[in-house]
Symmetry: C2
Subunit: 194 residues, 2 copies
């Protein structure tokens, strides 16, 4: 039983190159009509060569979103939300990466609706984490007296996540649709004193 040898330096770099290149192609061509052949060409590989790094097309997309999450978590601290401004900044940032928003919307919807989808469990965990972070933020604001004690914390957290998701659909249909302003409006509903 030999110890498995890890990836080579070249492979690690190529894998990263694929992820960033794939995002570019998707942003340009859209998610649905992007084939593995196109993605492979974009990084100078054959189809089989690309599939060496990712078991399937779906897995590649999931990996892009996972990487996005990591970057966003670090940049905006959604998972350890200090204030609503982090979310507002993230939503504002999303306006600049429509391809990513589109990919996320598509994949999350597909994965949610199909328990057999490879990313189904991933999104269950993801939504649990985000909802928990938002709930804690609201609880903190509640303790500070900036949010009424009568607010249902968990429900409001779920609604905040739902609104963020749902607004993306309306924004994709009309790029002039101001997601940030609407999220701010939601937060006003939460914070105004009864």
């Amino acid at each position: 039983m030999a110890a498995p040898r890890g990836s080579y330096a070249k492979g690690i770099a190529k894998r990263e190159e694929i992820l960033t290149a794939a995002l570019d192609v998707i942003a340009r061509n859209g998610y649905r009509r992007t084939s593995v052949r196109e993605l492979a060409d974009a990084v100078g590989l054959s189809q089989a060569g690309l599939l060496h790094y990712f078991a399937s097309k779906e897995e590649l997309f999931q990996e892009i979103l996972r990487k996005r999450d990591d970057v966003d978590m670090a940049s905006y601290g959604i998972d350890t939300e200090q204030s609503i401004d982090g979310l507002l900044a993230l939503v504002a940032h999303n306006t600049d990466v429509p391809g990513l928003v589109q990919l996320y919307a598509q994949v999350s919807t597909e994965a949610a609706g199909d328990p057999a989808h490879p990313a189904h469990e991933f999104f269950i965990a993801r939504y649990g984490t985000i909802r928990g972070a938002f709930a804690e933020l609201i609880r903190r604001e509640q303790a500070a007296g900036r949010v009424g004690a009568d607010i249902d914390v968990d429900s409001t957290a779920a609604l905040l996540v739902a609104a963020t998701d749902g607004l993306q659909t309306q924004w994709m249909l009309d790029p002039s649709f101001d997601m940030v302003e609407h999220i701010r409006s939601f937060w006003n509903l939460v914070t105004r004193k009864p």
Copy 2:
């Protein structure tokens, strides 16, 4: 220039049979992994035979959703909303038709993210209509004194639509997730007096 002859009785019935059968198959197999051949088999037709009624697979799905909309509009009067109860009843009803919810979520997301999608314009109009109906409902409640005058009507309407959409994703990931209760919770945020 001869006058075009309409569909035969058999054709009209078959078309309807296809729509209902397709929904069944989708509810069972999921939207993504349902092929035209499967749908054709379900109604005793060949692929080409089915495609005689619908120019493409996408058009068939769009027709299912359009029919659903017609039924829902008539049953719950979403387009001429009298009170929030209509929406609550509709959302409650959706719990019983997961296949439709899944189909709607998928198709609306795909169409929204792709301006070239055949249903793109359809959803732009649909969201405009629903947002307008909700806005009018809120305005009416505002006039009746049940909603504060400080509420941003249009933004709240957009948020209500967004929340309804977004909650579906969380419900698909966890069927025990109570969409109705969360919508009610949102409405509480809107109606509580400052």
